[in-house]
Symmetry: C2
Subunit: 219 residues, 2 copies
DNA sequence: TAACTTGTTTTTGTATGAAATGTTTATCAG
DNA sequence: CTGATAAACATTTCATACAAAAACAAGTTA
């Protein structure tokens, strides 16, 4: 299937934003994008509208369009919701996970372990993502899973600043272990709580971090 | 502030869909909309895209665009998430509500009561909405509040079929009473549970209802 | 200096035609 | 009647042109 220009543009911009090649607050000049991608204003407009809908971009009327800059308080609010939804995924997964899904989860955990032992934070970031994704799927609530993924997407531009906190990596892995144990045992309440705290801690560490170093121009 | 044609169109369509003037599965013909609103294809396209983003409309490529028809299983999934989020609002509200907000909540409850005594289901529907909205605001998590509102919006086309269940109205009111009591007392856990169940019951009643009368062409 | 005016530039919203792409329908051979 | 093929049709996507609204800049006046 062939993707339209607008789609490709949307994906490219999304990728740029998520991976920090375009930082929050940065201006997106429509005309520049037209030239850059060799298309007319229509598809650019469309792509931008989609990004606005997903919360990654904001347009200030008659001033211009910018990569969304999420304030620290809203960021905390978002983490609060993220924690709740992840916790819910854990609770449901503990009840509903299948044997094959459980096996996949164990393997994802082991890959996290390997990355942690190797001290490869980039790889850990990636495997961590896969680990959580296993849990989303195992919740057997597709709507929930897609909402969580979208919210995670929206938080990603700010995630680069995480996990760099000292010792966070090993304790994160330990939390993963507990989460797997709770889900394996079918302990819904424990799984929910473990996951919720796992995310909340990230949020807290995160806000500690950013409030200590506010020199980043985009916060 | 002056709203654009696309905006007005979007609002009009949204209103039509939410209030059942356009039922799920119904076709939306772009050309017809152009004529109906006396505008060109561009703003129509834009409005439709926004509605797609909010989940109220789906476009099947090269087949046409339709009012979103949410399957019964996805509907249940959405209720599951709705219950969780409302519960979360209740939990936070129990901790964070201010005195004036609490007063507003009590008054909202009383208006529900009045509508219930009068047996006016339309009015109850409206006041019920206001009641829940008080709780969203009182959670003091603006992001959470807006997400819940959006999800509720998305469920609205199917809500017409609710609360018509016998006796649901009085038990709903009783549940409201418990919710207010828990929030007043600052009992976060109780508020969360009461609200979650309040919503889940709606969901269950709802799915009971629709699975008994599947003659509705849009389910 | 501050406010006001005016002219210019940007941004936004809209219309419209044309090309690309996929779907449906009609036709016809087997 | 069945299935393939082609013609007709619908839709989606895109480019381009134009108009209106707001921001901006500069010069003017009080």
């Amino acid at each position: 299937m062939k993707r339209s220009n607008a789609q490709r543009l949307r994906d490219a911009l999304e990728d740029d934003i998520i991976n920090g090649r375009r930082t929050p607050g940065e201006r997106l000049d429509p005309d520049a994008l037209c030239q850059e991608f060799g298309v007319s204003r229509t598809p650019v407009r469309e792509a931008i509208q989609q990004l606005v809908a997903s919360g990654l971009v904001t347009v200030v009327p008659k001033r211009g369009t910018f990569v969304a800059r999420v304030g620290i308080d809203e960021l905390i609010e978002m983490f609060e919701v993220m924690a709740e939804l992840e916790g819910m995924c854990g609770r449901l997964a503990a009840r509903r996970i299948t044997e094959t899904e459980l096996e996949a989860l164990r393997q994802a955990y082991e890959r996290c372990e390997a990355a942690a032992e190797a001290g490869d934070t980039d790889d850990y970031y990636y495997e961590n993502e896969a680990f959580h994704d296993c849990i989303y799927s195992a919740s057997h609530n597709g709507f929930l899973a897609s909402e969580v993924r979208q919210l995670k997407q929206r938080l990603k531009p700010y995630r680069r600043l995480q996990l760099q906190v000292r010792q966070r990596l090993t304790s994160s892995l330990e939390e993963h272990r507990e989460i797997v144990a709770a889900i394996e045992a079918g302990e819904a309440g424990n799984a929910e709580q473990a996951l919720r705290e796992h995310v909340l801690i990230q949020g807290e560490r995160f806000s500690d971090f950013v409030s200590s170093v506010r020199r980043f121009n985009f916060l």
